[in-house]
Amino acid sequence: MPEEINLEIFNADPITEDVSDAAPEATPQAAAKAVPALDTAAESQQILSDEMKALGDAYAQARRNGAAAETQPRLDYPPYRSSILRHPTKSLQHADPETIELYSPAFGHMDVHALESDLTIQHNGEPMGERIIVSGRVLDGDGRPVAGQLVEIWQANSSGRYIHKRDQHPAPLDPNFTGVGRCITGADGSYSFTTIKPGAYPWKNHLNAWRPAHIHFSLFGQEFTQRIVTQMYFPGDPLFALDPIYQSIVDQDARDRLVATYNHDQTKPEWALAYNWDIVLTGSKRTWTENEALGAEGDDHE
């Protein structure tokens, strides 16, 4: 429940982040790893943009030569410098999902309070920024709604600052905004969050690197093979072309699938702007019965 969110939990978290690449005072491991990264922090946007353009051009040429469209980010995408030592070099091994992988963990209203989908009411006052409603549906690759499943989001505040203690971006924290939400999808796969439009924020991939405004989404399907974590972006962001994380998806159609649509009909007068974003998971590998599609047992789906 929002009122139980404890800031000490966030501050106890030991995770290092992008800033650690340029901050040798972090852990000994991070410091050792940071030595080559220190140089990369001085690289210009032009160097990165040239690399991204070369990869994009090569993909366009491959497409003209008949290569299939790519639909996912490349695991090996050197312009995102932190990926260089963190991607597998061997091909992923094809596996037919076994029993446990054909099911997903069950989440329900025991796990998530209804108020957790409103990120603007977690504190005593209203957060700063542009209030928005982000809604859509979670579908599987066969177009079937993913009902009764967990959706988790997290994001920066309106000035581009995460509440994470290692975020050292000198933009103000908002005492009325944590930036974490959860919900359980409806019978039609629908979700809806009320939040604040996040700001862009700087990071240390290269000199003058800025992330386009985004909301992190974590999604479960009805099978564990459908698990995905991704990011939703806002239409028309001028940082798209400059961002190695967004550009790690080299196909424009695929990139577009991460961009929400502004919906004026759903915008609430004098209250909040509305964005829509549907998420499609991979296709089902299991033969379903109708009851299985209805969500978890032992829970109070409404």
């Binding site: 996912q72 980010p73 994470h164 974590v229 969500g295």
Partner: protein, 198 residues
């Protein structure tokens, strides 16, 4: 929910939404109390599953987060809610663990039973990390029952040195140790469930 009102229809195939890296700032969002304790430590039948996540230089990855999903000790697939709000009694089969500064993860769970007679028991694992563009799926198998491991469709398709990356070591205290190597020597086998069925 009005079950009778639900229509389960299959439409044309849709293209999946791309994944993106979990980034650096999940630490205040994804972890939750007792996330890594599928049952209380020390309770009957509980074991520890531990290991370290390494990058291609052999350095621990301090900003990875793992999830596990598994059958119970009898090989049944749990379908109970309550993973996020543990009651201490319900085994939901799901756990989540953000690694510490030294890349170490620790879960408290049970040895999964075989989900079919003769099947090799394993725990399904998904890996997220800053710098990892998309999640990676893998499996950790229990080391016992050589016959079942030899007959496993995935393991038998792998060269011996790659196969080893998916099999845990049994600790003297009964726990399981298993490391994840994202890249390089002894790179963990990661899985692709899409594509043509074999």
């Amino acid at each position: 929910m009005k079950h009778s009102a639900r229509k389960v229809t299959t439409m044309s195939k849709l293209t999946p939404t791309p994944g993106q890296t979990v980034g650096p700032f999940y630490g205040y969002a994804l972890p939750y109390p007792k996330d890594r304790e599928l049952l209380p430590p020390g309770s009957p039948g509980s074991i520890r599953l531990q290991g370290t996540v390494y990058d291609g230089a052999g350095h621990p990855v301090p900003d990875a987060i793992l999830e596990i999903w598994q059958a119970d000790a009898e090989g049944r697939v749990p379908q109970r809610t309550g993973s996020l709000v543990r009651d201490g009694y319900t085994f939901t089969g799901f756990g989540r663990c953000a690694v510490g500064n030294t890349g170490v993860f620790t879960f408290t769970t049970v040895n999964p039973g075989p989900t079919a007679p003769g099947a090799a028991p394993f725990i399904s694992v998904v890996v997220f990390a800053r710098g990892l563009m998309n999640r990676l799926f893998t499996r950790v198998y229990l080391p016992e029952n050589e016959e079942a491991l030899a007959a496993d469709p995935l393991l038998s398709a792998l060269e011996p040195e790659r196969r080893r990356t998916l099999i845990a070591r049994r600790d003297p205290d009964g726990g399981l140790s298993w490391d994840i190597r994202l890249q390089g020597e002894n790179e963990t086998v990661f899985l692709d469930f899409e594509g043509a069925a074999q």
